[in-house]
């Protein structure tokens, strides 16, 4: 049998786990691993400029493809820099393996140079973690890490490897396990049949149903099943911020996003619904508003693969634990078998009501914001232009703030895995590295990072990674010269006292900055030049382009739920409320 060192075993195991790309950054405790990387051609390493970005890029890659992302960092500061990325992936249930170097076993606990208890520090934000103590255990641990990360409710797994475990002079036989099973970890797949049947019967009898779906549909590749069921039943569908694209954004049955910045029609329909069918969603506080006032008339059916999610915030009347795909498939079969008709008359009335809401106050029937005055560019119009120029076919990543909400509202995603954003943690700095991960996965697709001048500066150094690794992403910077979302809250709740949400004259010249990294920079200040410049931007297929677009800084994101209210209590613009 072939004898390999721990470092070589790790790389071989990654290859056997199906890993092609590793995003990372070297350092002392990881040097044996980096040397092993150097001596092979199976696993490709992409050098980032900050470990947070390595994790976000692996995360973006994973969200775009559904595969497990992989990041590699050194001990101490390398590991702690990765933490924000890991927490981001954890909150959004993204499958990922983060390998961290660690000081040698003989030094652990001695406050050695660059020693951080990575397993301890990351504990609350990982699905699981391992400290590998023998070269002999590396392959099996890697197999388990990928298995755990990608099954059940996915999530990040940390594998911490002390330097002496990858010592090149200590060689052991390599063995990749044919199959991974763990007695303590057996994720549920199929839901309870009786419950599923009850759910179908409840759905068929519904008079004012809403299907409310989240990231689970995207993660589990369940969109085709959702579409089939929703269309068979002729039920309205709303998606969470994490679920956008899970149901086609341009379809008639789609009500738009729900929640804090959801549409009037989606939030109002939820409030009046008699049956809410939640699939792969978690009744997050950014959706429900005040739990006490949440959907007072509704029978709740809740499907989720994670039992702790069901009945955590809102008690489910019909709880079903299972994967979205397996449960929806079974529901379709049962619906076909049961010889019951849905209530066409009630549904007809319900749709009439919904269409009325759409016509009255929906953001898609007509613009609900003041049209651009003079030459000023409205941020919403930038997203609409982006949609037009990319034919709605781009992968759009975003950062966090007003620009994120405008992108979520106005770019209509017809497919899953096209909208890539940090929903749960809300991590500014996510957008650019995530875009790199997406571009690496789909070099032939347009990848646009919708960002703000605040967020982009949190990982701006990655422009250098784009140069080195030829990742021609398009940065659409909605520059309102302010931490816009903070400013909006200050307008609404603090009498416009802009505490630390403006930068005075300190913003960089983004055009020159992009050029300094070898990219194309463009500045757009005039509404009339937006279309032409953006076309120019996307025509440069093999260039990273930074579009710095000056937008109206007074614009707020609406609708917006009123704190302490029910789902339908909304501000529709600065003066009008429901």
């Amino acid at each position: 049998m072939e004898l390999l060192s721990g470092g070589d075993i790790l790389i071989r195991a990654l290859k056997d786990a199906g890993v092609k790309d590793v995003w990372g950054y070297p350092g002392g405790a990881a040097l044996h691993i980096y040397d092993a990387l150097y001596r092979q051609d199976d696993v490709f390493h992409i050098l980032v400029r900050h470990e947070q970005a390595a994790v976000h890029a692996a995360d973006g890659f994973s969200r775009a493809t559904g595969e497990v992302g992989t990041a590699l960092v050194t001990s101490g500061p390398g590991a702690t820099n990765a933490i924000t990325g890991i927490a981001t992936a954890y909150m959004d249930s993204i499958p990922m393996v983060v390998i961290s170097g660690q000081v040698p076993l003989t030094k652990i606990g001695q406050d050695a140079f660059q020693e951080t208890d990575m397993v301890g520090v990351s504990r609350p934000i990982v699905k699981h973690s391992f400290l590998v103590t023998r070269a002999e255990d590396i392959a099996e641990t890697i197999a388990k890490a990928y298995y755990i990360a990608s099954t059940g409710r996915p999530g990040p797994v940390v594998v911490d490897i002390p330097k002496d475990v990858t010592d090149p002079s200590y060689k052991v036989p390599y063995h990749w396990p044919a199959e991974t099973t763990m007695r303590s970890y057996q994720p549920t797949d199929k839901g309870h049949r009786g419950q599923i049947k009850r759910a179908v019967k409840t759905l068929i009898k519904a008079k004012r149903p809403v299907i409310y779906t989240g990231g689970g549909i995207v993660i589990d590749n369940a969109a085709p099943h959702l579409i089939a069921l929703a269309q068979k039943l002729n039920f309205p569908v709303t998606n969470t911020l994490m679920g956008l694209g899970g149901y086609p954004g341009t379809d008639r049955q789609y009500l738009g996003m729900l929640g804090m910045h959801g549409t009037y029609e989606a939030n109002t329909a939820m409030h009046h619904a008699d049956v809410i069918f939640a699939v792969g969603a978690r009744f997050d506080d950014r959706v429900t508003n005040d739990l006490e006032k949440f959907c007072p008339h509704a029978t709740i059916i809740h499907i989720d693969v994670d039992p702790t999610t069901v009945s955590k915030n809102i008690e489910a009347h019909i709880p079903i634990v299972g994967t979205c795909t397996s449960v929806l498939t079974e529901m379709l079969t049962i619906a076909d078998q049961l010889d019951i008709e849905s209530d066409a008359e009630a549904l007809g009335e319900w749709w009439q009501q919904i269409d009325q809401w759409r016509a009255d106050k929906g953001i898609y029937t007509q613009p609900r914001y003041e049209p651009s005055e003079g030459t000023l560019i409205k941020p919403q119009d930038v997203i609409k232009m982006l949609y037009k120029i990319t034919n709605g076919e781009a992968i759009v990543t975003s950062d966090v703030g007003q620009h994120q909400m405008f992108a979520a509202q106005y770019y209509l995603f017809d497919e899953p895995r096209m909208w890539i954003n940090s929903g749960g943690l809300g991590t500014m700095g996510f957008g650019l590295p995530a875009a790199m991960g997406c571009k690496r996965a789909f070099p032939e697709k347009d990848v646009a990072c919708v960002t703000g001048e605040g967020s982009i500066q949190m990982c701006i150094q990655e422009l250098s990674t784009c140069t080195q690794h030829n990742l021609p992403v398009k940065i659409i910077n909605l520059n309102n010269a302010a931490l816009g979302m903070v400013r909006q809250w200050q307008d609404m709740n603090y009498s416009s006292r802009y505490s630390e949400s403006v930068y005075e004259d300190s913003l960089p010249d983004f055009v020159k900055l992009a050029e300094a990294y070898g990219h194309v920079g463009m500045k757009v200040t005039h509404i009339d030049e937006l279309e032409e410049k953006m076309r120019e931007c996307f025509a440069m297929q093999d260039r990273t382009v930074f579009m710095d677009i000056c937008v109206d800084r007074s614009e707020h994101v609406y609708p917006m739920q009123m704190p302490g209210g029910s789902m339908r209590d909304l501000w529709l613009n600065k003066t009008e409320r429901t």
Binding site: G120, L131, M182, S184, P307, S311
Partner: protein, 164 residues
């Protein structure tokens, strides 16, 4: 309501800290915690007690189950069960009358005096937590020097068992 939760855990490094971390992370309290290997040395048996209504207990059990290292989790309080806790108490006992009083008290509670000095008795007592509380109540006037409680261990009544 008091809950006694029993967990079979992989005897792996870090496993216990994940259980404990879960409680602080989710804002649950741990009142007592005991952990030791079992006849199968790849497993640890952990018993913890906490307070909570049915819904909270269900969440706790589900959250514990979600940890990768947990193999089985049960809320013993749902069925009939046996609860035991061990206590060692060092009590001031310099004077003859007090020694006699203590001795009879220990007998009533079916405890044992396991160490004696001219100034103190050390008493060992096992039982459910209420019994141990009652003993402390009974002797607190005399002068307790030190109390050590093991925390609750529990097992279900009848033929049901928790095993891999």
């Amino acid at each position: 309501m008091k809950r006694i939760i029993s967990i079979l855990l992989e005897n792996e490094s870090g496993a216990l800290s994940r259980v404990v971390g879960l409680f602080s992370q989710r804002g649950y309290n741990i009142d007592t915690l005991t952990v030791a290997p079992t006849d199968d040395d790849t497993l640890s048996r952990l018993t913890l007690t906490t307070q909570g209504d049915d819904q909270m207990a269900e969440q706790i059990v589900k959250q514990l189950h979600k940890l990768i290292d947990t193999i089985k989790v049960v809320d013993l309080t749902v069925g009939s069960h046996i609860e035991r806790e061990l206590m060692l108490v060092k009590i001031k006992a310099a004077d003859h009358d007090i020694r006699a009083e203590l001795k009879s008290c220990v007998d009533i509670f079916r405890g044992a005096i396991v160490d004696v000095t001219p100034h103190s008795y050390t008493v060992q007592l096992a039982g459910d937590s209420e019994k141990l509380d009652a003993f402390i109540e009974a002797v607190c006037e005399i002068g307790i020097m030190e109390v050590v409680r093991s925390g609750v261990s529990g097992i279900s009544r009848g033929d049901k068992f928790l095993r891999v």
